[in-house]
């Protein structure tokens, strides 16, 4: 039952691209935060804790967007919203109060160090989630149609 639901509820098409970019940022942000906290936490604890928080949000968003169930959909919306708020708040703070951020985070200056992708990503995520609402019940017509269309042999 759970296995069945999993194969039906997996992301396809445009979501795969979004999930790929999110996965990339999840890995990048997690590694960066891990190294920062492990090697030089004392230098800028606030910035590094924010890095870790950003990394955790990327991980949650990656998983949530890839799972097409109503509950995960809500988690995905929450994660993307938090991410957008985070990049805007930290981006603005890092511009006006540079002293509080002696070392860069993913969200510093709206993600400039990452070609502003951190700013674009949550907007793209929210736009995608808005255009692709999840059918409420497992017996819904969208779920049934998707069930056949998405199942591939050997999965």
């Amino acid at each position: 039952m759970a296995e069945n639901a999993g194969s039906r509820a997996r992301a396809t098409g445009g979501a795969r691209l979004l999930v790929a970019v999110y996965a990339l940022f999840a890995v990048a942000a997690t590694s960066r935060a891990g190294v920062q906290i492990a090697t030089k936490f004392d230098e800028a604890p606030l910035a590094y804790l924010l890095s870790a928080l950003a990394a955790a949000v990327y991980v949650v968003a990656t998983v949530a967007i890839s799972r097409r169930t109503p509950a995960w959909h809500r988690v995905a919306v929450a994660a993307c919203t938090f991410e957008l708020a985070g990049v805007l708040a930290i981006g603005t703070l890092s511009l006006f109060d540079a002293a509080a951020f002696p070392d860069a985070t993913v969200w510093s200056v709206y993600g400039r160090g990452y070609l502003f992708v951190p700013l674009v990503l949550p907007v793209a995520g929210l736009a995608y989630l808005r255009r692709h609402p999840v059918a409420a019940g497992p017996a819904g017509p969208a779920g049934e149609a998707g069930n056949h269309a998405l199942r591939e042999p050997g999965r």
Binding site: T12, G13, G14, A15, R16, L17, A20, V21, L24, S31, V35, T39, Y114, L115, E152
Partner: protein, 121 residues
């Protein structure tokens, strides 16, 4: 870092990213020629790792050895992962996953170069 080699990696990864976008837009599917290009790029990345090891063994030191090697080794995983991902499902957005992987290689190599330049500067 060998800047000629790194420049080749950056150039080839950008070309492959553009190529992948063209493939996705035209919807022709991923052909062998593109896969061979990716294989060449992966080969260059392997050479880059060897060069990095040789340079460090020869006494050159980037600011952080751990991060330096994390990038050198980590960048090797990106293309195979992206290729598997985009081949698993034949659709345009899936093909674009490969473009993202190529651009990730560009970004990681640029960061490597930057690290190495900081060490010298």
């Amino acid at each position: 870092m060998n800047s000629v080699l790194a420049a080749a990696v950056v150039g080839l990864s950008l070309v492959l990213a553009a190529w992948t976008v063209v493939v996705a837009v035209r919807g022709t599917g991923i052909r062998n020629s593109l896969l061979i290009g990716l294989l060449v790029l992966e080969g260059l990345l392997l050479v880059q790792l060897v060069v990095g090891v040789v340079l460090v063994a020869g006494g050159d030191r980037p600011p952080s050895l751990v991060i330096f090697f994390a990038y050198l080794v980590g960048v090797l995983v990106v293309l195979p992962a992206g290729t598997l991902w985009s081949v698993a499902e034949k659709s345009r957005p899936s093909t674009l996953v490969l473009a993202v992987a190529c651009l990730a290689v560009t970004a990681m190599t640029a960061r490597l170069l930057q690290m190495w330049a900081d060490a010298r500067g």
